[in-house]
Amino acid sequence: MTTRIGVITFPGSLDDADSARAVTLAGAEAVPLWHGDESLPEVDAIVIPGGFSYGDYLRCGAIARFAPIMTEVVRAADRGLPVLGICNGFQVLCEAHLLPGALAINEGRHFVCRDEELIVENTQTAWTSGFAQEQHIVIPLKNGEGRYVADAKTLAELESQGRVVVRYAENPNGSNNNIAGITNARGNVVGLMPHPEHAVESLTGPSLDGLTFFTSVLADTHVSA
């Protein structure tokens, strides 16, 4: 049976179609999920895509966190369902306390769109098992509030537990410890600012590196079980 991966659309989500395309290219079935839904259909994993949910005028992810579907996402994540938050999705996961820390305005204050070199530092998560440890990958980064911030204790914890999933080769926005993406203790919830769904076709992306996030999850024990 094909793996079913849910992709949430909030009002203001922008990269939902792109995430669905990436899921399809990885060989899974993309299942559209609507922010107002109060229950989850049968899915094997969930992607929270990029964009500006509810306009994100207040603070990125601040309002989406309270969307009806998020109650179910939090529950499913606690059960071990793989959840990937990309950009705005990462912000939502932090606001929803599924991941620690916060995303603040870029040090340079501007929106930044460019191809970013990342180092994969944790290949044990549901979404990164297909990478080699320390693999350098290039995927697009595009956001205005992408500076990862956490207090010293949280940072120490993330580092000591190996929960930094991807790190910037060169810090684009002032993120603490060059952090581009992190995971929860269990390794099923991953959030990152750069956009793997925009590096899945040679025609439209800087590389094919992004595809591995989506193929990795197909091999995840939770998903294949």
């Binding site: 203001g12 990269d15 395309r21 500006f52 306009g55 769109c113 956009h195």
Partner: protein
């Protein structure tokens, strides 16, 4: 205050009215009285004044714009022509695309962020109103001198406004222009282009047909901001102390617009819409009168039903408000509930405000009393038309006589090298990443080419790979020297930029940015430019599908350079065969196509090195442009080209440098015998491109050029091994041999550094 009803207007025929404050001339006011057979009500006066403003009525430009129709080439591709919200062209496989460029110059000077943001918002709604899904945006921009303090105020605001709105809408920015010239000091030009696509059967028009059909206003609430803003603001000259009507600025809500896009596409897909119109300049006045005028001719509107943000607004204010993010749809009565349900799903407020009638009149009620009763055509279409006086500018003869031939030119290989380093770092030619990095070019996943390519390219059909390429161009200095030739050159450059990517140019849009039409010299420039563009389109066989006119771009009698921005759209059957700007592999051969003459009038070299503007612009030969395009397209189709780049500002030297910089690989090149090295490297002759040919394709390619009689001159070879340190990006060189008996060799790293440093140094804080 008593409500000024139709009855009252008849009863009190001589009540004084503030027509002059609303921008109407005495004879225009008389004309309105003649049409109505009485004085207008306050609401009617409001409607006529905004609709008859220069911005909305094109009253000074119409007589000239008719040339686009009169000289239109035969085109089977044109599905919807000039006059609708945007033109629509057939790109095959039952796909249609629509594209248009519009100006938001005046609002962007008053409030750079919001002015530019709402410019994007407005053009996107034009595209949705055709029934298309917006696919991408572009932003041709012009500012005053790069180092002028006001440019430091305007540019960062404009750029973050365009990004702030476009990024939040989820539309990739696939290109644009950034030009600095002191003529734009008090009048920056902020033009915005949007392209969208739809299936043929989904094309929708702005017309209200079918008596009894309901008129639904949906989107944002109507507020008191921007009352008469765009129309009035864009229809008068700024005084040197700044714009006269400051508060006419609106704040955009891109989130609401994103909801409008999705909601509109859903109601269209569900077949619930008979006619649709966006609300832009002149707001409800424009939408209702145009819908009625294009349809069965009658409409009844209950204005008190319009949802307001501020319940103290008067009917006149509601009619004139230019609040953003609103649309208007005509829906049959049985579809109204379904329409409203889809709006609710997207959290978009929607209200039935009117009904199509067969009265032949547009009538508007306010709490049961009639405040408007007019023939809609007289508001929307039959505005006064002016054939304004024109005169050859007094500066022209002296300007054309001021030949750049007398300017000091570099005479040695070293001087050539330093000239190139200067040029590649001028604000006009420097890398634009400080700007373009603020724009999302990835969203939607169909961007095949974006900056720094010659055209933006979007995949329309993911299965077949069918796509479109778009470029916008204009050299205002050329247009200043000769607006007729300048407009043709803008068309030629844009056409060429599309062709170098491998796409076949198909259709043209334009944004004509000029000074005050009340200045006969400006009017002359305008007429010449329109004639040049219309003639050029006829020669090239590409129709003008729409556009926009922005007049009154002058401050204290100083008009901007005439700036007819031309956008060309081309189609490519498979985006996979696009030709990129950067060369790929060692050993590939570099050719220049076309002829180079000694042409420096209006050139970037004269401008940047000598602060000189004079002489004549380069010659333009559109038959040659068409031939060049044929070769570029055939070269792409048959896999003969690995890279191509058009030659324009800064000439061949700059084009070669850009290709090397983007590839991060150097090259060994040489000056052909029989031409002066400086002229060869820096002249801005039109009709040229640089192409890069794999060795295996060389013979086939040169045979093709010979057969078609297109001059093709081999001028170099891609070479990462110059200096011996093969392959290291920081050890790459651009070498030019045969320069006054020597070689000019410049480290690529130096060129990159010079090219990259300029904009951050000016605008990063």
């Amino acid at each position: 205050m008593t409500l000024d009803t139709v009855t009252r207007a008849a009863d009190q025929p001589d009540a004084p009215q503030p027509f002059a404050e609303l921008g109407l001339k005495p004879d225009e006011y008389e004309q309105i009285r003649d049409i109505l057979g009485r004085r207008p009500t306050a609401s009617e006066l409001a409607m006529y004044s905004v609709m008859w403003s220069e911005h909305c009525s094109y009253k000074s430009s119409k007589v000239h714009l008719r040339q686009f129709g009169a000289k239109a080439p035969e085109s089977e591709a044109l599905l919807v022509g000039i006059g609708e919200n945007a033109g629509v062209v057939d790109i095959g496989d039952n796909w249609a695309v629509t594209f248009k460029v519009e100006s938001h110059n005046h609002p962007s000077f008053v409030e750079p962020y919001q002015g530019a943001a709402t410019g994007i918002g407005g053009i996107v709604r034009d595209i949705i109103a055709m029934g298309a899904r917006p696919l991408a945006v572009m932003d041709p921009l012009r500012f005053g001198a790069a180092d002028h303090p006001d440019t430091a105020r305007v540019l960062p605001g404009v750029v973050s406004g365009i990004g702030g709105y476009g990024n939040r809408l989820g539309l990739p920015n696939i290109g644009g222009e950034v030009v600095f010239d002191s003529s734009y000091q008090g009048n920056p030009l902020v033009n915005a282009l949007c392209v969208g696509a739809m299936r043929h059967e989904d094309i929708h028009l702005a017309s209200a047909k079918g008596v009894g059909n309901q008129v639904i206003l949906y989107g944002a609430r109507t507020g008191g901001d921007g009352i008469g803003g765009v129309s009035v603001l864009a229809s008068e000259t700024f005084s040197d102390t700044g714009p006269a009507k400051r508060p006419s600025v609106q704040v955009g809500d891109p989130f609401m617009e994103k909801l409008l896009i999705e909601c509109t596409l859903e109601v269209l897909a569900a077949g619930l819409v008979e006619g649709i119109q966006d609300l832009g300049g002149a707001g409800i006045s424009c939408a209702t009168s145009e819908l009625a005028s294009n349809g069965d001719g009658g409409m009844q509107v209950w204005l008190d039903r319009v949802p307001l943000r501020d319940d103290t607004l008067t009917p006149e204010e509601i009619l004139m408000s230019e609040s953003q993010e609103r649309m208007c749809a005509v829906v049959t009565p049985e579809h109204v509930d379904d329409f409203l349900a889809i709006c609710r799903k997207w959290d978009v407020e929607a209200t039935v405000i009117g009904e199509v009638t067969d009265s032949g009149r547009l009538t508007v009620d306010w709490h049961g009393e009639q405040v408007v009763d007019v023939p809609p055509r007289t508001v929307a279409h039959d505005c006064p038309i002016y054939d304004r006086p024109m005169v050859v500018p007094s500066y022209l003869a002296a300007l054309n006589a001021n030949d750049p031939a007398d300017l000091a030119r570099p005479k040695t290989a070293d001087e050539i090298a330093s000239t190139l380093l200067v040029l590649i770092a001028t604000p006009n030619l420097a890398a634009k990443y400080w700007i373009t990095d603020q724009y999302d070019r990835y969203v939607r996943g169909n961007t095949v080419l974006a900056q720094p390519e010659d055209s933006g390219m979007i995949r329309v059909d993911e299965q077949s790979g069918l796509g479109v390429a778009i470029s916008t161009d204009c050299n205002g200095r050329f247009a200043k020297l000769d607006p007729y030739i300048g407009a043709k050159l803008a068309l030629a450059e844009s056409y060429r930029n599309v062709a170098v990517t491998g796409a076949r140019p198909l259709a043209v849009t334009n944004c004509l940015n000029f000074g005050s039409p009340e200045d006969p010299e400006v009017m002359w420039q305008f007429e010449r430019a329109v004639a040049g563009l219309a003639d050029g389109c006829l020669e090239l066989g590409v129709p003008v599908t729409g556009g926009n006119v922005s007049l009154y771009n002058s401050t204290a009698d100083v008009a901007i350079h005439p700036t007819p921005v031309v956008g060309v759209l081309g189609v490519i059957d498979d985006v996979d065969r696009r030709t990129p700007i950067s060369w790929a592999a060692d050993g590939e051969l570099i050719y220049v196509l076309g002829d180079t003459d000694d042409e420096f009038g209006g050139s970037e070299w004269a401008h940047a090195v000598h602060d000189h503007l004079g002489g004549l612009p380069p010659k333009v030969d559109l038959a040659r442009e068409a031939l060049l395009a044929d070769v570029l397209i055939a070269g792409s189709r048959d896999g003969m080209l690995s890279a191509a780049h058009d030659v324009s500002d800064g000439g061949i030297a700059v084009a070669l440098t850009e290709m090397a910089i983007h590839a991060d690989v150097g090259a060994r090149t040489w000056i052909p015998d029989g031409i002066d090295p400086f002229v060869f490297l820096f002249s801005e002759s039109a009709g040229r491109a640089i192409v890069v040919v794999p060795r295996s394709e060389e013979l086939r390619f040169t045979d093709m050029c010979a057969a078609r009689r297109l001059p093709a001159t081999r001028i170099g070879v891609v070479d990462s091994g110059l200096g011996g340190d093969q392959g290291k990006p920081d050890h790459q060189f651009l070498q030019i041999d045969n320069v006054y008996g020597e070689s000019a060799t410049i480290a690529l790293a130096d060129l990159v550094a010079a090219n990259m440093a300029t904009l951050p140094a000016l605008f990063a804080d």
